[in-house]
Amino acid sequence: MKDDSRLLLLEKTITQHQHRKDSLLEILHTAQGIYGYLDKDLLLRIAKSLNLPASHVYGVATFYNFLRLKKPGTHTVTFCLGTACFVRGIEEIISAVENEFKLKRGETSPDGRLSLYVTRCIGACAMAPNVIVDDEHIPKATKETATEMVRALLG
């Protein structure tokens, strides 16, 4: 929270929204975009500047899956768990990566280098199964391509 330039950016957005309470979700999106995740201090600061109870802000932040309250790893792997990906075998890919890197979905490795996430459908169903490695979308993924990508990432 000591980083002033990021804080300025966040405050600018809050001002643009005129501190309106109904802009909370928009502000949380912006904050996550700037900081990568929403920690307690950040949520408290947002609550204060929108004049909302901290419990309300925490309630909203925890309700939505897209919002992260824990710091993500340096690299993130997101598996699409939509129906098409499920039918085309995403579970096997997830298990393979989980076993290979000794990490469960939703967790970050102790050294903070890798996080595994699942998401409910990115809407690229015709190319299922889909995996997103950092910002790169891997369509028609297989156990082998997915683990290989992650291995290459970690070096």
């Binding site: 309300h56 909203v60 939509g82 129906t83 085309r88 409910r120 459908c121 015709a126």
Partner: protein, 554 residues
């Protein structure tokens, strides 16, 4: 800078653009939507642009980035006009060949073309009329394809009541899943006392396995905005929101740009096209909550709260955003409105089946030869969609089930595929129209495991407000976990059915009311698989119990 445009200026822009388009002998449309992008569409686009310049044919050949053409599994796809030449799996190298042969010498390359002819034969593109044919980032492209002329017609020739009457006459029903008659909804909002009124476009396509709304927004965002504008004119609404999933970054981009351009062209803001209509649109991002697609939950989310539904009445038509009359429509419904206004409700109602007019977009996925985005007239059978358009199941395997309507749809067996696609027929069979997902499963899919997958999803996504959904689904999940461990009991089946009926009848919103559909339909059509899991402890598809077996071996 904002241009101060009048209605006639839109017609002039359209004519000018069409003339510019005619000056090109060829037009190369490169699909750059979420489907084709990860397969290298941008490189292909650049290759076309570079080659056209290098060979010196850029005055006769226009290269454009467009939205989804539907054949997502063979991307990147490129569509060359005139004529309907669709190239598949295009690479930068093939791009060069296509320019040299097709554009320069006038010889289309048959070998590189999409060959599954059946894919387009039974389709009817109304909502996706311009998808893949225009650049979604250029409002001029939309206008040249006849865009905003329906709005011009409203502003210059029609009263708000006439607009509503036309929408009613079309028989259009909500495409978000419930199928409520759109004209009725509009007249409720128009009559409701209170101001300001709001228009909400629902693009929270939360159903896993569904992407038709995303494709629409990526290919033709202005069609949604024009639909909202016409609704605003008819209902005297002043503010609109497009509520879109955060998981759709490209659709967010196209819509953001479209809103900016519409403002610059005097189509949004004070005095739209110098008329008395005042309307502006804002984008609101969802944050990964399936329940937010429910109409009262979406309102809570736009107001910055947790997306939790509330009991109805009052309906949003009378008490919606901040307690004011609010029209909530799926974006596909809204995209149907401009052609209805232009051509008349009677024209629209000629497509589809009686009581269920028009078309429906479907995301056709799973174990099918031609997965992709399709738009078909209502009343077509599921069989035609899966076999004639989808090309059937790959590798000569047998079709086991077709899941229609997203996670809360139903799993239907092969012998029900003659079912016509309309709201009522699907509900009778235990499925729903939902937002238009068709997932094909072959013999490798275990129906018990599939039902468990959907229940897990609904347990995750239940907002927790009402007991039947929160506690009931959790109970159902417990039974499935037990069956999965090989500890199922035969009396579990009766319990599953009883609990499912209870959840369906007693839940507060659509999520809970439809969540048991996969369980009920698999129990109805695939009971033998449940019995195999419970009595014989075997999985006919070979999916379940694998871990136990492996553990047993060691």
């Amino acid at each position: 800078m904002n241009l101060e445009l009048k209605p006639e200026d839109i017609i002039k822009i359209a004519e000018k653009e069409r003339e510019a388009r005619r000056s090109y002998r060829h037009r190369i449309n490169v699909c750059c939507s979420t489907g084709c992008l990860p397969l290298g569409a941008l490189k292909v686009l650049k290759a076309f642009q570079d080659t056209v310049k290098e060979i010196g044919v850029e005055t006769g050949c226009q290269v454009s980035r467009t939205g989804c053409l539907g054949t997502c599994s063979v991307g990147p796809v490129v569509f060359v006009e005139p004529g309907d030449y669709l190239y598949e799996n295009v690479t930068p190298e093939k791009a060069r060949e296509i320019v040299e042969s097709h554009v320069v010498e006038g010889v289309p390359l048959k070998d590189l073309m999409y060959s599954s002819e059946g894919f387009f034969k039974k389709q009817f593109k109304l909502v996706l009329r311009s998808a893949g044919r225009i650049d979604p980032f250029r409002i001029e492209d939309y206008i040249s394809a006849g865009g905003y002329s329906a709005l011009v017609k409203c502003l210059t020739k029609m009263s708000p009541k006439e607009v509503i009457d036309e929408v009613s006459a079309s028989g259009l029903r909500g495409r978000g899943g419930a199928g409520f008659p759109t004209g009725h909804k509009w007249s409720f909002v128009a009559r409701a006392p209170g101001a300001p009124k709001y228009v909400v476009a629902n693009l929270d396509e939360g159903d896993p396995g569904v992407f038709a709304n995303r494709a629409l927004a990526e290919a033709d965002p202005h069609a949604i905005i024009e639909g909202m504008l016409i609704a605003a004119y008819a209902l005297k609404a002043e503010t609109g929101y497009v509520y879109i999933r955060a998981e759709y970054p490209l659709a967010i981009q196209t819509l953001r740009k479209a809103i900016e351009q519409a403002r610059a062209f005097s189509l949004l803001g004070e005095n739209v096209l110098e008329s008395s209509l005042r309307f502006d649109v804002q984008l609101r991002l969802g944050a990964g909550a399936f329940v937010a697609g429910e109409e009262t939950a979406i309102l809570a989310s736009i107001e910055g709260r947790r997306a939790m539904p509330r009991p109805r009445p009052p309906y949003p038509a009378t008490s919606g955003l901040w307690g004011k009359p609010t029209l909530i429509q799926n974006v596909e419904t809204l995209a149907n409105v401009p052609p209805i206004v232009l051509n008349g409700g009677a024209w629209f109602s000629k497509t589809g089946s009686p009581g269920c007019t028009g078309t429906k977009c479907f995301s056709l996925t799973g174990k099918v030869n031609n997965p992709g985005l399709v738009e078909v007239p209502m009343g077509i059978t599921l069989k035609e969609v899966v076999y004639d358009i989808g090309g059937g199941v790959p590798h000569g395997r047998k079709l086991k089930s077709v899941q229609v309507g997203g996670p809360s749809g139903g799993c239907l067996p092969e012998d029900l595929l003659n079912l016509p696609i309309d709201y009522e027929s699907l509900i009778r069979a235990g499925a729903i129209m939902g937002s238009g997902g068709i997932v094909v499963m072959d013999e490798e899919s275990c129906m018990v495991d599939t039902a468990k997958f959907f229940i897990d999803f609904c347990v995750d996504e239940s907002c927790g407000k009402c007991v039947p959904c929160r506690a009931g689904l959790f109970k159902v999940k417990g039974i499935f976990d037990r069956i999965g461990r090989g500890e199922g009991r035969i009396e579990d089946l009766a319990f599953l059915e009883e609990m499912s009926n209870l959840i369906r009848d007693a839940s507060l919103c659509g999520l809970g009311q439809t969540a048991p559909n996969p369980v009920l339909t698999t129990l109805r059509y695939y009971k033998d698989e449940y019995i195999a899991h419970i009595v014989d402890k075997t999985c006919p598809a070979g999916k379940c119990f694998r871990n136990q077996k492996e553990a047993g071996k060691t």
